[in-house]
């Protein structure tokens, strides 16, 4: 299944302890060269610790990780990778341009190349007009775009991004996502951690879900969605407010969630339930305002896998 490609990242039994806490527990996975790989998990699941081990910020206690054939954390592995850490900042007391030049020096990029790439990148992320301004005057979205430029100044083969759109407004997040797709289209491998299921669904060709330090699933977003049995649902809104207990008693309903003025009913057989809901509305003499049959989402898969449910 995962044997016919040259992996950009190969992780074997990677483990990290923080005292008594087993933050990452013997995880294994591979990322295909040229892929966008999503690494999903709830807070404290071990995502950032994994990224930090892969980017050489911290050392693993057990296991190994290879980045394009180089041991993670080695100078060679760091040289071919660009990193946008979750909590990291650009230097606020330097201008955007000087931050880029510093990164270029730290990656050994020649002055001419650095100037050329910096101008191209700043133009691409629409920061060219602000390149001389101190970063402390940038908005959060501008800082995040600059961090991306800093990661790309060395023209890396692989890009690690830890929650790159976290806390950004819709436009900035969309801008970053489009940029990542462009970067990937030029053959770069992207390793992305995110909380945002829509982002993972839109961007990633494969995702791994980590929970309590263990990988609980690795597959394409579509296959993970489809693997959630019994998680089909119907979202319905009635003319009047209904008692959710009545809905729970309808045959075939496994779970009812109230979502504002709508109810979401989970069922293994949505078409059969739709007929029953029409009968229910007739019996109560009230109209159905809206009825949508929903396939399970990646979020459903994520919740099922991280709350101990089975796909």
């Amino acid at each position: 299944m995962e044997t016919n490609y040259n992996p950009a990242i190969e992780v074997s039994q990677l483990t990290k302890n923080y005292g008594e806490l087993l933050a990452v527990d013997h995880i294994d996975f591979r990322v295909e060269t040229g892929a966008i790989f999503g690494f999903l998990g709830p807070n404290g699941a071990g995502k950032t610790t994994t990224v930090r081990m892969l980017t050489g910020v911290i050392r693993s206690d057990e296991g190994s990780a290879q980045i394009m054939g180089h041991s993670a954390g080695s100078l060679n592995a760091k040289q071919i990778a660009g990193v946008v850490p979750e909590m990291a900042n650009a230097y606020l007391d330097l201008s955007g341009w000087n931050n880029l030049m510093l990164m270029a020096k730290l990656y050994g990029v020649s002055k001419d190349d650095a100037h050329k790439r910096a101008n191209e990148l700043l133009a691409k992320v629409e920061l060219a007009s602000r390149k001389g301004s101190l970063v402390q005057t940038y908005s959060k979205g501008m800082k995040q775009r600059l961090l991306l430029c800093m990661a790309l100044i060395s023209d890396p083969q692989i890009l690690f991004l830890d929650e790159p759109t976290s806390g950004l407004d819709v436009q900035s997040a969309r801008f970053i996502k489009n940029l990542l797709q462009d970067i990937n289209a030029r053959g770069k491998t992207i390793f992305l951690t995110t909380h945002d299921m829509d982002e993972a669904n839109q961007l990633c060709s494969r995702v791994a879900i980590i929970n309590k330090g263990k990988i609980v699933a690795i597959d394409t977003p579509e296959k993970l969605r489809m693997a959630i049995s019994g998680k089909h649902s119907i979202e319905i809104s009635f003319q009047y407010k209904v008692n959710t207990k009545d809905l729970e008693e309808i045959a075939g309903v496994t779970e009812v969630r109230l979502l504002g003025d709508k109810c979401r009913l989970y069922t293994p057989d949505p078409s059969d339930l739709a007929i029953r809901l029409v009968d229910y509305s007739k019996s109560k003499q009230m109209k159905i305002v809206s009825l949508n049959i929903l396939a399970p989402s990646l979020e459903d898969a994520f919740v099922a896998l991280t709350e101990g449910g089975k796909p």
């Binding site: 930090r52 980017t55 050489g56 910020v57 911290i58 050392r59 100078l75 760091k78 040289q79 990778a81 990193v83 850490p85 909590m87 990291a88 900042n89 650009a90 230097y91 606020l92 007391d93 330097l94 000087n98 510093l102 990164m103 020096k105 730290l106 990656y107 050994g108 800093m150 690690f160």
Partner: protein, 252 residues
């Protein structure tokens, strides 16, 4: 870890890039210059004014204080500040070794210490004091500035993201050293127990070199002063590297 000559050269260049960043961000600030020059100068004059001392007696102590204070003024706080401002993780993910990061911080402090040491030398020349061994003084300043910068990096190894915590520790360590290093009272005039204690301070040896250069009357032989400063420098760099290698991952 064995590094090839090419890698070593590249890492050295990158250490200078880190030093340049440090100087630009942390050192070229008004309060830093004030703390590095004015504070030691005022402190020194508060002790010597009214004691009817000649300039060539005063200047070695003043120079010693300025080099010591400037070289240890910011280096202890750089790593905590980088931790607090979330820039250390970015630096650690770059293709530089932890040694390169520490060397870069030491170099920044060293360069700053060297540049500021020019001020008391200009003052001494302006008031007509002659420097009898300028080359020796230059070598002593270079050695001392590097030694004190490495000492500052030892203080920076406390795994905190609060610069104030480190600065408090720094003050607690730096001030006692001033009083046992022959700054205010030349070594020869100290009681015997004072002379013994003075040997544990690297500042003692630099101040003695300065007295050789300004007054031609140091207490210790020159070669002892130079060898002691070299030994302290090697020890401080080694200790700073070891401590930071241990504490750096804990800062993240």
């Amino acid at each position: 870890m064995t590094l090839s000559k090419t890698v070593l050269l590249a890492q050295t260049r990158r250490a200078f890039a880190i030093a340049g960043k440090d100087i630009r961000i942390y050192y070229l600030k008004g309060p830093v210059v004030i703390f590095g020059i004015l504070f030691p100068a005022f402190l020194y004059f508060s002790f010597v004014v009214g004691r009817n001392m000649d300039a060539d007696v005063m200047l070695p102590g003043l120079l010693g204080m300025v080099v010591f204070f400037t070289s240890t003024s910011i280096s202890p706080a750089v790593t905590p500040m980088e931790t607090a401002s979330k820039t250390l993780e970015r630096l650690m993910s770059c293709p530089v070794t932890p040694h390169t990061i520490i060397l870069g911080d030491i170099l920044a402090s060293f360069i700053f210490g060297l540049l500021i040491s020019i001020v008391p030398i200009i003052v001494s020349l302006a008031i007509g004091t002659s420097i009898q061994y300028p080359a020796l003084l230059g070598a002593g300043i270079i050695l001392a500035a590097f030694c004190f910068s490495a000492f500052g990096m030892i203080l920076a190894s406390v795994p905190t993201n609060k610069p104030s915590t480190v600065m408090l520790l720094t003050v607690m360590v730096k001030f006692p050293l001033l009083f046992i290093s022959g700054i205010f009272i030349p070594l020869g005039e100290l009681p015997s127990w004072g002379r013994i204690i003075s040997r544990i301070s690297p500042l003692t040896y630099f101040t003695d070199i300065a007295r050789h250069c300004f007054q031609n009357q140091g207490y210790l032989p020159i070669y002892i002063d130079i060898l002691a400063l070299i030994a302290f420098t090697i020890a401080f760099v080694f200790i700073a590297m070891r401590l930071h290698l241990r504490t750096m991952p804990r800062r993240i």
